[in-house]
């Protein structure tokens, strides 16, 4: 009897610890959101979102060029990473036991652990130094490397959710392997694949080091992919570390915009994943 009571008490204790740990994670997120919202909300407005940065002491100004720069570089990164990574995931799904698959999985996991600063340095050395200028193109390429492991690993998981019974049904109907991939596996997993891409985009949007080392920043509107380009994380970094109060306020505003965008992406991804799971 006492033994049972002891077990019950221990069970309660561990449950309480788990709840505590989970709450700490939530509290930290809530605090960050609260501070960013409180400090940033007064700054954000139409002019803020659509104007070029103003010099110190000049009223107004905004983050328009950084917003466009971020959108462009993240979009460029996704444009490069998505086809390559989905194709890689299809290979992993079709050849789960091959040696190359094991190596690709290993390499992908290692890549996902490489600090983004190192990825930035790699593109800096290979592209920026060679071409002689910082550019949106280099930024996009760096972000595509950041996204690659997230997209590949999540896409493989999602493809594997398509049951073998359906694949066999497709083959038994006279579909070739390729037809089965394009007509059944990819469309069947489409929802999950999109969620993986959204999460990768959200991750890339907040990366500072890779874009700082490859696209640098700019005070002007974007004119070509070959020139230095502003982005939200780099702008926040510069403004927040500056000694000027109005720049610091703009850093909060930019942080609010960025955090909101990332939060919206994540929540949408989670919701749509939940929906698609329920349909299964």
């Amino acid at each position: 009897m006492t033994n049972r009571r002891k077990r019950k008490a221990l069970g309660l204790l561990f449950e309480a610890l788990c709840v505590l740990a989970a709450s700490i994670a939530i509290v930290v997120l809530a605090l960050i959101l609260y501070y960013v919202f409180r400090r940033g909300i007064g700054v954000v407005g139409f002019v803020f979102l659509t104007s070029l940065p103003a010099p110190v002491g000049v009223a107004g100004g905004g983050i328009g060029n950084a917003l466009i720069g971020s959108l462009l570089m993240v979009g460029l990164g996704a444009l490069i990473a998505v086809p390559v990574c989905i194709a890689a995931a299809v290979f992993l799904d079709q050849n789960p036991a091959s040696k190359l698959s094991a190596f690709v999985r290993f390499a992908t996991r290692v890549l996902s652990g490489v600090p983004s600063m190192v990825i930035g340095l790699f593109v800096f050395g290979q592209l920026v130094l060679r071409t002689g200028n910082y550019s949106a193109l280099a930024g996009g390429i760096a972000l595509s490397i950041v996204m690659a492991p997230v997209i590949t690993l999540s896409a493989e998981e999602m493809l594997r959710l398509v049951p073998s019974s359906q694949r066999e049904a497709s083959m038994a109907l006279g579909a070739s392997k390729q037809q089965t991939v394009f007509r059944l596996v990819l469309p069947g997993a489409a929802g999950g694949l999109i969620v993986g891409v959204m999460l990768a985009v959200a991750l890339a949007a907040g990366q500072t080091a890779p874009v700082l080392l490859t696209a640098l920043t700019s005070r002007f509107w974007l004119e070509s992919l070959q020139q230095p380009t502003a982005s939200l994380p780099v702008l926040i970094y510069h403004y927040a570390t500056s000694p000027f109060a109005d720049w610091q306020a703009h850093a909060w505003g930019a942080a609010l915009v960025l955090v909101t965008a990332i939060l919206v992406l994540n929540v949408t991804a989670q919701l749509s994943l939940g929906l698609s799971n329920r349909r299964r």
Partner: protein, 252 residues
């Protein structure tokens, strides 16, 4: 055009273990042949060899001959992908394509093989759904996802999907295993209809089902064919003592 199936001295291995041992069996055209036997006896493997679906798994090996009509399915001239179009298969677990509607599930094979265009597709889909005795239940909402139908309806949808590509042979791997009695009854009625136009080979664990729907029954045990005969005689007067033991629940 329906074709009979002739299996001669057929063996099959997974790696080192031989799961089908030198089986010879012929499934006459436009008749139902039932394969019975305990789980793991090799009857499903035999069935899945007839459309060469088992080749897809690494480490398998086959020996012997299987002919559909006069044609050896293992000959170099036969493309396994084309063979599978000519051999319809229904699985134990109903497997409609979940991202496709009822209509598109049936149309899938037509589109895949370019068998019909435009308006013809809709006509063929309707004909196949009618043949599979599903039309009346789904005609008002053909756009509904196939996966939202009941288990029995899904299985009939799979039959309609297989019918659409006009196979010569129907393979059924325990098609009623996951269905309720009403669903089972419907599928059995359907099989009796199908045999007027097709050769059917069905794996079943249910001996009553075998006796109800088949013309010929074959008993497989440990990879060997123990006995095959006309269904009536097979169940009334089995010649092999192992068959009799199985039929009276003494083994398996």
């Amino acid at each position: 055009m329906a074709q009979g199936v002739n299996i001669e001295n057929f063996s099959f291995w997974y790696g080192q273990s031989q799961v089908v041992k030198n089986i010879s069996l012929s499934a006459p055209v436009r008749q139902v042949t039932a394969l019975i036997g305990p789980s793991g006896c090799g009857k499903t493997t035999l069935l899945r060899s007839i459309n060469r679906l088992h080749e897809l798994h690494p480490g398998t090996r086959a020996a012997g001959r299987i002919a559909i009509g006069e044609e050896d399915i293992f000959s170099a001239a036969v493309d396994p992908v084309d063979l599978r179009r000519r051999v319809g298969m229904i699985f134990q677990k109903p497997s409609p394509f979940p991202h496709l509607s009822v209509f598109e599930n049936v149309a899938a094979g037509l589109r895949l093989h370019g068998l019909a265009q435009g308006k013809e597709i809709a006509e063929r889909v309707e004909a196949c759904l009618r043949k599979a005795a599903l039309w009346e239940e789904v005609k008002d909402d053909l756009g509904r996802k196939g996966a939202l139908l009941s288990g029995g309806q899904q299985q009939r949808l799979c039959i309609a999907r297989a019918l659409a590509v006009e196979p010569e042979v129907f393979l059924m791997d325990e098609p009623c295993a996951s269905l309720d009695p009403v669903g089972i009854m419907r599928i059995e009625e359907l099989i009796r209809e199908l045999k007027h136009d097709y050769t059917v080979i069905i794996v079943t664990h249910n001996m009553h089902q075998a006796s109800r729907i088949s013309d010929q029954t074959a008993f497989v045990l440990n990879g060997e064919l123990v006995e095959v005969g006309r269904t009536k005689e097979f169940f009334l007067a089995p010649t092999d003592p192992r068959t009799e033991a199985y039929l009276t629940w003494k083994i398996g």
